[in-house]
C-alpha cells in the first residue's frame, strides 16, 4: 500500500508538487512568524527589564493594588541595610513615584514623576543610556527633570524650559514647584516615554516630604537566573508581613499577559491564511481523488476495504508533507537561529510601529526547538485533515457505481 502511495505521488505529479510546495511555504511561514512573534515578545520583556523594572522589587503589600501615600515603605534605611548583606545583589535603590500635573506655558499633562538616586540608577537601569538630549540627572541636579521624549512633545518643551508641577506630597499636603527640563530620554516603550519624568531624589524628597520613604525598592542581581532563590532569601531577611518582595516574573505579569493576548491575535490572523492554503491543498486532493473515483471503485470491487483506501490517502499526504517539512524545517530553523544571533535591522521601523509596541529597529527572532516541533505538529494535523473530505467523498459511492463512474 505504501509503495502504491509512492507511485501515485510520482504519477500525479501536479497535485504532488502543489501540495508539497504549499506545505513547504506554510511550514516556513509558520515557523518564522511564530519565531518573530516570540522573539519580539522576548525582546520587549528584556528591554523593559533592562530599562526600568528590577529583577526583584520590594513593596508594601497594598501598594501595587491600591497605591497612595498610606502604603509607602516607611523605613527604607533598615531594609537597605539588610539588603547589603546579600551577596548576589549587585545594586538596589528606593524610588519614590507619584503622579502629578506638569504644565508648560500653554500645555499640561499628567505624568508619573519618579524620584531616583542618579548615581545608583546608572547601575540599576539604562535610563542614562536612553538619553536623547540634554543631560541625565546628577547628584546635584536640583529641580532638573529628565523627561520622556513623548511627554516633551505633548508639553511642547525645549531644553531648559520651565515646567510647573502640582501634586500631593507623601503626607497628603499640597506640593507645587517650578521645575526645569534638563534632559530627554527615549526608551522606545511608548507608554513609558509618554508619561514619565525623573527627578533627583534628594531634591524631590524634601519637596514631597518623602525622606526615608519609598514607593518600592528596586534590586538588580548579579545574575537574573537567581531571582527566585534570592527573592526567598530577601523575604526571610525582611521578616515583615506588611511587605512583599516580587521577582520580575510577577512584576511583568501584565506585560506577559498582554503578550499572550497578542500571540492569540497573531495566531488568529495566521490561521486565516492557513485556511486558504489548506483549502487549496484539499481542493487539489479532492480533484485528484475525483479523477480517480473509478480507479478507487474498481479497487473496492476487487476487495480493497475503506481502511485500505484511507491508508492509501494517508500515506500519500504523509509522504508529501514530510518531504516539504524535511526541506522547510532546517531552512526555517536556520533562519530563526541566524537572525536570533544577528537581528534584522530596518531603519525607522520602531518609529513607524511604535503603537504596536515595537521597541527597536531590530527584528529579533526566537529559536526554540519545542516551538518548531509544535509548529510542525500543526502542519501535519492540517494536512491530515485535508484528506478527510476526499475520503468520505470516495466512500459516498457504492463500489459498483464508482467502478462505472466516468
Amino acid at each position: 500500500m505504501f509503495q502504491l502511495a509512492l507511485k501515485n505521488i510520482l504519477f500525479y505529479r501536479g497535485r504532488s508538487i502543489t501540495t508539497a510546495v504549499l506545505t513547504f511555504v506554510s511550514t516556513m511561514l509558520f515557523i518564522i512568524f511564530v519565531s518573530i512573534q516570540d522573539g519580539s515578545h522576548k525582546s520587549m520583556l528584556e528591554n523593559s527589564l533592562k530599562i526600568y523594572t528590577g529583577a526583584i522589587e520590594i513593596y508594601h503589600k497594598e501598594y501595587r493594588d491600591t497605591g497612595g501615600n498610606e502604603y509607602l515603605i516607611e523605613d527604607v534605611k533598615t531594609i537597605t541595610d539588610k539588603l547589603s548583606e546579600i551577596e548576589d545583589i549587585e545594586a538596589f535603590a528606593g524610588r519614590y513615584e507619584t503622579y502629578g500635573l506638569l504644565s508648560s506655558r500653554e500645555h499640561s499633562a499628567a505624568s508619573m514623576i519618579s524620584g531616583i538616586d542618579p548615581a545608583k540608577e546608572r547601575v540599576l537601569s539604562s535610563l542614562k543610556e536612553a538619553r536623547r538630549e540634554g543631560e541625565f540627572l546628577s547628584e546635584n541636579s536640583g529641580n532638573c527633570l529628565y523627561m520622556g521624549a513623548e511627554l516633551v512633545k505633548k508639553l511642547h518643551l525645549k531644553m531648559g524650559d520651565e515646567v510647573a508641577f502640582v501634586g500631593s506630597a507623601s503626607d497628603n499636603s499640597f506640593a507645587a514647584d517650578i521645575l526645569k527640563l534638563c534632559g530627554v530620554f527615549k526608551t522606545g516603550l511608548f507608554e513609558f516615554d509618554g508619561s514619565t519624568s525623573f527627578i533627583n531624589r534628594s531634591y524631590f524628597d524634601s519637596l514631597m516630604s518623602a525622606q526615608n520613604r519609598a514607593s518600592y525598592i528596586t534590586i538588580k542581581l548579579k545574575n537574573m537566573d537567581d531571582a527566585q532563590r534570592v527573592n526567598s532569601e530577601i523575604l526571610k531577611l525582611l521578616n515583615d508581613d506588611a511587605l512583599e518582595s516580587l521577582t520580575w516574573k510577577t512584576l511583568m505579569k501584565t506585560l506577559v499577559e498582554a503578550m499572550e493576548v497578542d500571540s492569540i491575535f497573531g495566531y488568529i490572523s495566521l490561521s486565516l491564511f492557513f485556511v486558504v492554503i489548506f483549502f487549496v491543498i484539499m481542493i487539489y486532493g479532492f480533484v485528484n481523488v475525483s479523477s480517480r473515483i473509478r480507479e478507487f471503485g474498481v479497487l473496492r470491487c476487487i476487495g480493497l476495504s475503506g481502511a485500505n483506501i484511507f491508508r492509501l490517502l494517508f500515506y500519500e499526504i504523509f509522504v508529501l508533507s514530510s518531504l516539504a517539512v524535511v526541506l522547510a524545517t532546517p531552512i526555517a530553523g536556520f533562519l530563526c537561529y541566524y537572525f536570533q544571533l544577528h537581528p534584522i535591522v530596518i531603519e525607522g521601523m520602531a518609529e513607524m510601529y511604535r503603537d504596536y509596541g515595537v521597541v527597536s529597529d531590530a527584528i529579533p527572532l526566537n529559536f526554540d526547538i519545542f516551538t518548531i516541533l509544535w509548529n510542525l505538529g500543526v502542519i501535519y494535523i492540517l494536512n491530515f485533515l485535508s484528506i478527510v473530505y476526499p475520503y468520505f467523498y470516495i466512500n459516498s459511492f457504492k463500489p459498483i457505481e464508482a467502478s462505472r463512474h466516468v
Binding site: 502504491l4 501515485n8 470491487c301 476487487i302 476487495g303 476495504s305 485500505n308
Partner: protein, 223 residues
Amino acid sequence: MIKLQHVNKYFYRGEPREVHALRDISLIIEDGEFTLFSGASGCGKTTLLNAIGALDTINSGEIYLDNKEISSLNEEARTQLRLNELGFVFQAYNLVPVLNVEENIGFIMRLRGLSEKEIKERVLEVASMLEIDNKLGSLPNALSGGQQQRVAVARAVAAKPKIILADEPTANLDSKNAKALMDMMRELNEREGVSILFASHDAYILESVRRVIKMNDGAIVDG
C-alpha cells in the same frame, strides 16, 4: 457451488415506478462451470452478476456460496468475501494506472498478504498462460486493449478465487482479441478449475461456453 433461492431485486426510480430487475430467481451453479448469462439488453444480467459477486444487495431470497449465505453480509464482510473468494473482470479494463503489469497482477495477492516469492511465481505462471509475460514491466497505458483485458483476467485469476465474474469482458475488444481472450479463459477454467460466469451478448462467448442461462425481463427462461 453457488445456490440462489427466490432472489428478487427491485430498483426504485422515483415512486411509484419501480423496476423488478430480478424475478424470483432460483439457480444452482456447480464448481468449475463455464457459464453465460444471455438475454436482451436490460433483462437483468448485470444485476444478477452483481448480486452473486456481493457487489450489490438483493431485496428478498438467499444466495449461498459453498453453503454460506452471503446476501445478508454487511459491507465489510462483503469486501472481505470479494477479496478472498471472488475475482472480477470488468468491461473496461480498469487496471491501476500507476502499477506495472506485474504489480497489477499481484495486487490482490499482496492485499491478501501472500509472500513475495509466492506472488512472483504465480504472476509468472498466469502471465505466461495469458501470453503477457513479455510485458510484465509495462504500465497499463502502454498496452493494447486486448493486452490490458488479459492483464485484468490475470489479476482476477492469479489469486485463485472460487469464482470469476466477467460482465461483458469482450465488449471493448475486436473479434480477434475477443476470441483469443475467450480461448485463454476457457483454458484457465479447465486447468485451474475456477468457475467463470459471464454476462454478454457476444457471439464469441456463446460459442465457447458450456452452459447458457437465458434470461428475459428479470427471470430465467431457459438453462
